[in-house]
C-alpha cells in the first residue's frame, strides 16, 4: 500500500513545551484518516504540521521528517511552502469565509496562484463538489457572510477544492455546526474521499468511527495507537486507547 503523507519521528517543541513526541504516521491516499484524543493532546498541532501552518506561530521548532508522496515538505527546494499549501489544504474549525462575495471567496486561491482563467467554470465545479451549486448559483455576488453556518463551511471547502489540492486537512470541521449540518458535512466528506486524501481531527469519537477508515489516537503528544478504525474502537491494543474510546477520560 502506498502512502500519501508520511511523518517519521516528528518532534515539535513550542518554546519549552514538547508538543509532539516522536510521532510517526502514514496516511493512505483517497480515504479518510481520523486523529482523535483529548484536548491538548497535539492532534491539531500534528495536522498543522502537514501543511506547515505551524511555521506561522512564533516559537515553534520542528524536527523529524514529513513526506508528501516522496518529497520532504520541510526541506525540498522544489516544494516551496506556497506550493505545499496548494497541494495540502486546510479546513478550519470555524467557518471562516472572507468578507467577500461567494464568487470572490472561491476564486481567491486561484487568483493568488495566478490561475485566473475560466474562473466561472472553476467556481461552478467547486460549488458542485460541495453540493452548494443549486442553492447558490443565483447568489454568487452576495456576501459569503450572509450564508448559514453550514453553507459557510461548505463554501470554505469549495474554496479549497477550487485550487485542486491533493490532501484536505480538516481541523474539527463540524464543531461549530449543529447535528444536522454535521451529518451533511460528514456525507460530503465521504463523497470527497473518492477524490481526495482526507485527514480529520475530531474530538467527537462517534464522528471518527462513522467517517474514517483509519484512526490514530493521541495522548499528551504521543501517538498511542494507529490502525483500522474498527480495530481502534472494538479491539484496541493499548489500555489508554481502550480507556479513551470507552469514555473513561477525555
Amino acid at each position: 500500500m502506498e502512502y500519501k503523507l508520511r511523518a517519521s519521528r516528528l518532534n515539535l517543541h513550542y518554546g519549552a513545551f514538547h508538543a509532539l513526541k516522536d510521532v510517526s504516521i502514514a496516511v493512505k491516499p483517497q480515504m479518510i484518516t481520523a486523529i482523535i484524543g483529548p484536548s491538548g493532546c497535539g492532534k491539531s498541532t500534528l495536522l498543522r504540521c502537514f501543511n506547515r501552518m505551524n511555521d506561522l506561530t512564533d516559537g515553534v521548532h520542528v524536527s523529524g521528517e514529513i513526506r508528501l508522496d516522496d518529497q520532504d515538505i520541510y526541506h525540498s527546494p522544489d516544494l516551496p511552502v506556497t506550493s505545499l499549501r496548494r497541494r495540502v489544504g486546510m479546513v478550519f474549525q470555524r467557518p471562516n469565509p472572507f468578507p467577500l462575495s461567494v464568487f470572490d471567496n472561491i476564486a481567491y486561491g486561484r487568483r493568488v496562484h495566478g490561475l485566473s482563467d475560466d474562473l466561472g467554470e472553476v467556481v461552478r465545479s467547486a460549488l458542485m463538489a460541495t453540493r452548494l451549486w443549486d442553492d447558490l448559483k443565483d447568489r454568487l455576488d452576495s456576501p459569503a457572510l450572509d450564508l448559514s453556518a453550514e453553507q459557510q463551511q461548505r463554501l470554505c471547502i469549495s474554496r479549497l477544492v477550487a485550487i485542486e489540492p491533493e490532501v484536505l486537512l480538516m481541523d474539527e470541521p463540524c464543531s461549530a455546526l449543529d447535528p444536522i449540518a454535521t451529518q451533511h458535512i460528514e456525507e460530503l466528506m465521504q463523497l470527497l474521499a473518492e477524490r481526495y486524501t482526507i485527514v480529520i481531527v475530531t474530538h467527537n469519537m462517534q464522528q471518527a468511527a462513522r467517517v474514517s477508515k483509519e484512526t490514530a489516537f493521541m495522548l499528551l503528544g504521543d501517538l498511542v495507537e494507529f490502525g483500522p478504525t474498527t480495530d481502534i474502537f472494538t479491539k484496541p491494543r493499548d489500555r489508554r486507547t481502550e480507556e479513551y474510546v470507552t469514555g473513561r477520560y477525555g
Binding site: D58, T82, N96, R111
Partner: protein
C-alpha cells in the same frame, strides 16, 4: 437622608445626559459663533480672488490652494511611510526590542508640541537642505508630525482584522504579501482611511509648525518650492495684526466648513467600505 436606588438612577440619567449634551452644545456654540461672524463675508469673490492690502480686501484663493498643497503633500508623504511601518510592525516582525523601540519612538514623536516640529523643520528643511520657506518644507514637517497618528491608527486597524483571515489566506498558499494586500489591508482600510483623514484635518488646522516652514507669502504658490500661507495661518495673521477681523472670521468659517466636509467624506467612505466588505 438616603436617596433610593430608583432616584439615584433618575438623577444620574439626568446628570449624564446633561454632561453629554454639554459636549454637543460646546461644539455647536463654537461652530455657530464662527459661522455667524464669518459666513456673511464669505462670497464667491472671497473664495476665488487673491488678497489685496494684506488681506483687508480681496479673497483667500491662494490660501485655499496653499492649504490643499501643504496638507495633500504631507499626507502623500506620511501615508505610505506610516502604513508601511504599520504593516512591518504587525505582519513582518515578531514582538521584540526593535518593535518596542519603533513604537516608543512613534509615541514620543506624537507627544512633541507642534512648534518644536516647526523649529526642526526650519533648521533642517528650510536652512540646512536649503528649501527655503516653502510648501515642501511645510509638508515634510507636517508629514513627520502626523506620522505617529497614521502608524498607530493603521496598526490598530490591521490588528483588528481577524487572525483567521490571514490563516486561511496563507493556508491556501498565498504569500505573506498577497495576504497583506488582498485580505488584511482590504479589511483594515476603513480604519486606515480614518487615520489618514484625521491627519489631513490636523494638517489643515496646523498653524505653529507652518509659520516657521511654509512661511506666510500672500502670493499664489506655483510650485512646491514657493512659500505659501495656509488658511489657519492667514486667520492668525489677520486677527493678530488687526488687519481685518471680518475677513479673519470669514477665513475661519471656510476652514471649519472644509474640515466638516472632510469628516463627512470620511464617514461616507467608511460606510461604503463597510457596506461593501461585510
Amino acid at each position: 437622608m438616603r436617596i433610593s436606588p430608583a432616584n439615584t438612577q433618575r438623577i444620574m440619567v439626568v446628570a449624564l445626559w446633561t454632561l453629554a449634551a454639554m459636549t454637543v452644545f460646546t461644539l455647536l456654540f463654537i461652530l455657530g459663533y464662527v459661522l455667524y461672524h464669518g459666513l456673511p463675508h464669505v462670497t464667491w469673490s472671497f473664495l476665488t480672488e487673491s488678497p489685496r492690502r494684506m488681506g483687508k480686501e480681496g479673497g483667500i484663493f491662494p490660501m485655499i490652494v496653499g492649504t490643499a498643497m501643504v496638507a495633500g503633500l504631507a499626507v502623500l508623504i506620511a501615508g505610505p511611510i506610516g502604513v508601511a511601518t504599520a504593516i512591518y510592525l504587525t505582519e513582518y516582525t515578531r514582538e521584540g526590542k526593535i518593535t518596542a523601540i519603533i513604537r516608543f519612538g512613534a509615541d514620543c514623536l506624537a507627544g512633541i508640541p507642534s512648534i518644536i516640529f516647526g523649529l526642526f523643520g526650519f533648521v533642517f528643511f528650510v536652512i540646512t537642505l536649503g528649501m527655503g520657506l516653502s510648501v515642501m518644507a511645510g509638508a515634510l514637517t507636517l508629514a513627520i508630525m502626523v506620522l505617529p497618528t497614521i502608524i498607530r491608527t493603521s496598526e490598530e486597524a490591521i490588528r483588528a482584522v481577524p487572525r483567521s483571515f490571514s490563516d486561511v489566506s496563507m493556508g491556501l498558499g498565498a504569500t505573506r504579501w498577497q495576504t497583506v494586500t488582498r485580505v488584511v489591508l482590504r479589511s483594515a482600510s476603513p480604519g486606515i482611511v480614518t487615520g489618514i483623514v484625521l491627519s489631513i484635518g490636523r494638517c489643515i488646522s496646523e498653524t505653529a509648525a507652518l509659520m516657521l516652514t511654509a512661511g506666510s507669502a500672500l502670493r499664489m504658490p506655483h510650485s512646491a518650492l514657493d512659500s505659501c500661507r495656509t488658511l489657519a495661518l492667514h486667520f492668525y495673521t489677520l486677527m493678530r495684526e488687526g488687519i481685518s477681523p471680518a475677513h479673519a472670521w470669514a477665513t475661519a468659517s471656510v476652514l471649519i466648513v472644509v474640515i466638516l466636509l472632510i469628516n463627512l467624506v470620511a464617514y461616507w467612505l467608511m460606510r461604503r467600505f463597510v457596506a461593501r466588505t461585510v
